[in-house]
Structures are given as C-alpha cells and as structure tokens.
C-alpha cells in the first residue's frame, strides 16, 4: 500500500470503528467470549459487535468475499488491528475455526467445501471443536483408533475423542479418523462432523482448576456424508500436520510482556529497610523470572521483525513455545507463593476475587506444557527439524 492510500484507509477504518464499536467493550479482555461458553451467553453488545464485524467482512479480513471475508491484504489487516488497538477494540471473531480450521481449509479443501464451511467461520456463526486426541493417542497422535468405515453412501464413525476444547458448545467438529487400519499415518482421514448428528455425545471434563473447558466426545454409529472428508481419503495426516502448525503459531502468538510482580510482592510480603522485597529467596526467583519473561517477549519482537523482513533464521516455534510455557508456569507458581495463605482459597468468602482467580490460574497453567504438543514433543521437533539430530534406530 502506498503511504497516501494507507492514510486514507486508516481514516476510513477509524471512522467506521468510531461508529460501530460498542463503547462498553473498550479495553475489556475478550478472552472470556472465546471458545468457552455459547455465543448466546455472551453479552448483548458483544453479539452486536460480532454481527457488525461479520457484516463488514472483517471477521476474516484477508479471505475472499465469497468466503465471508473482505478480500483485503495483510497490510490492510494490520491497519485494522492497529486502529482497533488504539481505541481498546478487538476482533470479536477469534475462534478455533479462525485460528486453525479456516486457514487449513483454504489450503486443502475443495471449492465446494470452502463455500460451504468458510463463511460460517468468517461470520462467527458456526463454532468448531478439534477432535484429535484420544484416550490412547495423546503425544503419539497418529496411533488414533476412531474407526471410520465406508458404508457406500456415507461414513460410519465409532470411537472416542478427548481434550476437545469447547465441544459442548460447538456446532461442528474437525476430526481425525482411521479409514485404514493397516497403516499408521497413511490410514488417517480428516473428517468434518456435525455435532448435532445422532450418536454424538459431549461430556465436559472437570480439570484440577475446577473449569470445564475440555470435554470427552463419544461417537457411536455416527453417519457422516461422504463429501465431508477434506484432502482425500487416507490423506488426513498431512492436513492435520498443517493444522497443528497453525495451532502452534497461535499458541506461540505475540504475548505482551507480563506486568512486573514486584508491586504485588511488596504489597503481600513487605519491603526491607533498603526498599527490597522482604523475602530474599523469593525475590531472587522473581528477578530470574522477570528477566526470562522480558527476553521471551524480546524473542517475539525479533521473530516478528525477521518474519517481516524475510530473513531466514527466526527462532523455531517449537523452542519458543517451550520457553513460553516455562516462563508462564513459573510465574503462576510465584504469584501463589507471593499470596501465601491467601493463595490457597478455592471459592467463597475470606479471599479476594483476584486471589481466587490467581489460584485457579496457577492450576490451569500446568496445561501450558501439555496442550498443543507437550514440552517433550516440542523438544523432539526442535531436535529433529531444527538441529537435525538423527532418529533412534
């Protein structure tokens, strides 16, 4: 975009946002609306905002209009994001569909599938969940066993999925199924299943943090139309790997530097005569975490600059994800340690809401090094793909 064109577009965006972004949502953390919970439970202004964004095509700025997007460039998208950030607005259409499935369909789906599924993602009206992991297939995902048998005019699916985020609110599920039992990766297909089909049951799983973000999905004699396979029969592993890359990208996504814990520590623990956090052992660990956290966000900024300039040697995402989970999990531990006895509350009176939230967040943080490819799997990827270390033979 030429500078003057960009200036014009920027002004247009600012004007539209001014007219359409509900003021009540400014600087609100949009996280609670994403994925967890049904859209109908979101507040009215959020629903209004999502509708307006969808009508404008900005739910998926760079997608073609026939797919529900605005058909604009990444540069346009950057301007829109910048203008939103400037006034505390946000894109309300962040979902698993946008994050993972949409970009995968753009690469692997046929024209008919794209026209059928992309608009619902772009408009935020159809919610998706990810049916990958199974009780016996976690880190070793390709050992999945959910059976998918060709019945001539439809597929018949039987099996169980687990750790399916938001399954109890999702309309559809992108699922990995086994269409050939004689080969491991080469017997997997990528299948789109309507969650309202007979035989689909989602049961929420309560985690150590007390939340029910995840569910188990039971598939019992579920009939799925033949045309719902993406990328071809037994070709699903390639599609899945691409989708996992999109997932990793978004999990490693640009995190703002976490705010300093020094004020919290001084409030709860006090200061010594020299103005330092009074507990020297905890203070030292807080410092180490702060330094690593800062270098972690510097790593993001560097990766973004390098990606923009197209210089090759950006830090590998697999390593970045591990650094991120490490830094965040340590932070969760440190906060609870700062809170002391106030960090032991579960619910009810006697604790501040922030204290209860911090305790739940600490428990939830243990998932960071498990989901989206565990710490160990990320290290396998770094060792093999980045460092070119040989496979065990």
């Amino acid at each position: 975009m030429a500078d003057d064109v960009e200036q014009g577009f920027r002004a247009e965006v600012a004007e539209w946002l001014k007219a359409n972004f509900p003021a009540s949502l400014a600087y609100k953390n949009p996280q609670p609306y994403h994925n967890d919970g049904a859209l109908a439970d979101a507040d009215a202004d959020f629903q209004l905002w999502l509708r307006r964004i969808a009508d404008k095509g900005w739910g998926a700025v760079t997608w073609a209009p026939e797919y529900g997007g605005a058909g604009l460039t990444r540069a346009h998208e950057a301007v829109i994001n910048q203008e939103m950030a400037r006034i505390g607005a946000f894109n309300p259409n962040r979902s698993y569909g946008m994050m993972m499935l949409g970009p995968t369909l753009l690469e692997y789906a046929d024209d008919e599938q794209k026209l059928r599924f992309l608009p619902g993602i772009a408009k935020g009206t159809v919610r998706w969940c990810q049916g990958f992991s199974e009780p016996g297939a976690g880190s070793d995902l390709a050992s999945l066993q959910t059976k998918c048998i060709d019945q001539g005019d439809h597929w018949l699916v039987n099996g169980q999925k687990i750790w399916t985020s938001g399954a109890n609110h999702a309309h559809w599920c992108f699922c990995l199924v086994r269409t050939d039992t004689s080969r491991k990766q080469a017997g997997i297909s990528f299948l789109l299943i309507d969650m309202s089909s007979p035989g689909v049951e989602a049961r929420p799983i309560t985690l150590i943090s007390g939340t029910t973000h995840f569910a188990e999905v039971f598939l019992t004699d579920v009939q799925v139309p033949k045309e719902n396979i993406v990328g071809g029969v037994n070709q699903g592993w390639a599609v899945a790997k691409r989708l996992l890359q999109f997932e990793r990208d978004s999990l490693a996504g640009n995190r703002a530097e976490a705010p300093s814990l020094a004020p919290l520590a001084k409030r709860y623990i006090g200061e010594d005569a020299d103005g330092r956090i009074a507990d020297p052992d905890l203070r030292r660990r807080l410092i180490l975490n702060s330094m690593r956290s800062r270098a972690y966000s510097q790593t993001f900024q560097r990766a973004a600059r390098e990606a923009k300039a197209g210089t090759g040697t950006s830090p590998a995402l697999s390593a970045v994800k591990n650094l991120g989970s490490d830094v965040s999990q340590e932070r969760g531990e440190l906060i609870v340690e700062i809170l002391g006895n106030r960090g032991l509350g579960w619910e009810g009176g006697g604790f501040e809401p922030d204290e209860l939230e911090a305790t739940r967040a600490w428990l939830h943080s243990k998932a960071y090094s498990i989901y989206g490819g565990s710490f160990e799997i990320q290290n396998n990827i770094t060792a093999k793909r980045v460092l070119n270390l040989p496979d065990y033979q």
Binding site: R284, M291, R292, A295, A319, N379, Q393
Partner: protein
C-alpha cells in the same frame, strides 16, 4: 538474527571471512604458547583496524565511520565464536565511549583518531580486586595544585600490559572522577598476571602518580554517571561476544553428537541428549534476543539501556557458562583434555562473566532498576 542493512551485512560477512582465515581457536592457542604479556596479537589487531573495526564507534571527523553498536556487535559476536583475544571491546567500545561521552574537544582530538586507527590501545582500569566495584572505588585522587595525584591499585586490568592509555575511575572528596593516565606515567607500575586465558591482564599500582588538569576526563561527582553509561556499552558488546562463544560451543557440541558412536549408534539418537540440545538451543535464542535488543537500544539511544544492558550481560553470562559446561560433559573425556577446545570455552565463560560485572551483579542491578 537481527534485520540488517546493506552495510551491516557487509561488515558481518567480512568479519566471518576474516575470522575463518585469521582467527581460528589456534590463534588463541598460539598466544598462550608464546607466553607473552601483551595478551593479543598486535598484527591481527592492526588488520582489524585496517578493516575499520576499531573506528566503528568513532565519529567521522576523528577518522571513524560511526556505524553504531549493532554493527560492532555483529563483529564481536563473530570473533567471539573462536575466542580471539583482542582489546576491541575494551578500547574501541569502552575507551571510545568514555571519550565521546565525557571528553572535551582537546581530549577527543588527541585520542579518538589514534584509537580509531588502532595505533593506540586504551582500556578501563576498573576492578580493584575480587569483585567488580559497586560504587566503592578505593583508588584515591587528591588535588595537587591545578592537577591531581593518584594512589591505589587496580587489578585485573585486561590488556593492561600493552595499553598506552588508561581510563581510571578514582575516589575524590567530592565523588568519583575519571582520569586519563598515560601508560608511561611516572609512579605507575604494571605487573603481569597470568590468568586461565591470555588477555594481557595487569596489576596497576599507582604510587602518587601526578597528572595535569588535562587528564581530568570527568570531574568529581560526574564520573560515576559517565562510567555507568560506558559500562552499559561495554557490557552489551561483551554480551554479544559471549553469545558468539556460546553459539560456537553449541555447534561444536552438536557436531559431536552427530558423529560420536557408542552402543553401536550415533549418540545424538538418544532422546536424553536430544532434549538437552533442544533446551540449550532455546537458551541461545533467548540470549540472542536480549543481546540484539540491547544493541539496538544503544543505537536508538533508548531510555531503558541500563535495564537492557544488565539483562543481556546476565543472560549471556549464565548461558555461556552453561553451554561451556555442557560442551565438556557431552564430549566426555576428550572434552577434559587440553588438546580439545572445550576447556577454552569454559575458561572464557568465566573470564567474560567477570568482565564489567558478573551475572549476579547484573541481576541485582536489573532488580534495583525494576523495583524488586
């Protein structure tokens, strides 16, 4: 790797080619065998000056190129890979920095061209014994007519045996001042220290050394502020050099994991070793980010240079020491031999960590600056 402009790419590639040809680890080995007191190879330093590296931070009017710290950082990172001992950071960063920040016109005209051309090596006489001073300078300066008299000891002073000029922080009744002291000054005694790696370190004893008013670089009370800014620059470039050493230690070790066989297989097939390598790789990336952010902040004259300097130096210190230790462990017995290079990386890790304040010093400084 940072996003570079054309000129920076040329400098980096030039440094790469030169280092491969002229500065392998054998250059360090040769210096050690010579048992000299200089601590670096003057011919190699002259070649570095010829390529303009000693003038990268010197303004053009004084014979430099003023290309900036990121440019110099790229070069010292490359030289750090093979551990070349040279006073580039001490002289072309720290001494040049001190003269640019605090020198008057006469001092700049007198010394900056000679530093840029490499004819003069100037170093900071900073540490006084066991620890990097934390606002506790013992060496004393007393007024004597319109000049000063300096008494006390500085040790170790890297490249102190060869330097022609010292920048000396000294305590006065009105706070710290910085002095320019000629290497040949009467009453200044230099004694060589033999350290784990050659760097021409010296004990400087100042016995009532008389200097004129033109030797005052930074007056009492202002010296500490200037010194802090000089040390930020030195720290950041030192961290870039340490990053280079850590990268090479990692790559050498990775090569070994891909060739060494035991139990009938390449040891790099073992997951325990693969994961150690993956974790070390992540630490390297983290350190690179901190170093490059700090170099960029110097060139942009950012507000948070002290924080970024301490972050980079502390991370580089921890990462290089861990990398060098793992280099020896993962090489096994051969890594313990003098014949192998691994020991040099371990020794450099310790020496470089102690230069301009070690990791612990900089963690504490970072903590103070950030309100912990």
């Amino acid at each position: 790797m940072a996003v570079l402009n054309e000129e920076q790419r040329m400098l980096r590639d030039g440094a790469e080619a030169w280092a491969l040809d002229r500065a392998p680890v054998t250059a360090l080995r040769r210096l050690r065998e010579l048992d000299g007191q200089t601590g670096f190879d003057p011919d190699l330093y002259a070649e570095m000056a010829e390529m303009g590296w000693t003038g990268i931070l010197v303004p053009e009017e004084f014979g430099g190129s003023d290309f900036g710290h990121l440019s110099l950082g790229l070069i010292v990172e490359r030289l750090g890979r093979t551990l070349l001992p040279s006073p580039l950071i001490d002289s072309a960063v720290a001494a040049v920095g001190a003269l640019r920040l605090a020198g008057n016109a006469a001092q700049q005209e007198r010394f900056l061209p000679a530093l840029a051309s490499g004819e003069l090596v100037a170093v900071l006489a900073l540490d006084e014994d066991r620890r990097h001073p934390q606002r506790q300078v013992a060496l004393a300066a007393e007024r004597d007519g319109d000049g000063w008299r300096l008494s006390g000891v500085k040790r170790p002073v890297p490249f102190g045996m060869a330097a022609g000029l010292f920048i000396v922080p000294a305590r006065t009744t009105d706070g710290v001042a910085l002095f320019l002291v000629d290497g040949d000054a009467a009453g200044l005694d230099r004694r060589a220290l033999r350290e784990v790696l050659p760097r021409g370190a010296a004990i400087l004893s100042f016995d009532n050394v008389a200097v004129g008013p033109d030797a005052l670089l930074s007056p009492p009370g202002e010296g500490q502020g200037v010194l802090d800014r000089v040390l930020d620059r030195a720290c950041i470039c030192q961290a870039a050099e340490m990053l280079g050493a850590a990268v090479q230690a990692f790559e050498t070790t990775l090569d070994y994991l891909k060739t060494r066989k035991q139990f009938g297989r390449i040891i790099g097939q073992f997951q325990a070793l693969q994961h150690r390598a993956a974790n070390l790789y992540a630490e390297l990336e983290l350190t690179r980010s901190a170093v490059e952010a700090a170099l960029a902040a110097l060139d942009e004259d950012g507000d948070d240079i002290p924080v970024l300097a301490s972050l980079a130096k502390a991370l580089a210190g921890d990462t290089l020491r861990r990398m060098a230790t793992e280099m020896i462990q993962l090489h096994g017995g051969i890594g313990m031999t003098d014949e192998h290079d691994a020991g040099f990386y371990l020794k450099r890790a310790r020496v470089a960590d102690m230069s301009f304040g070690n990791a612990a010093f900089h963690r504490e400084r970072y903590a103070r600056l950030c309100g912990y």
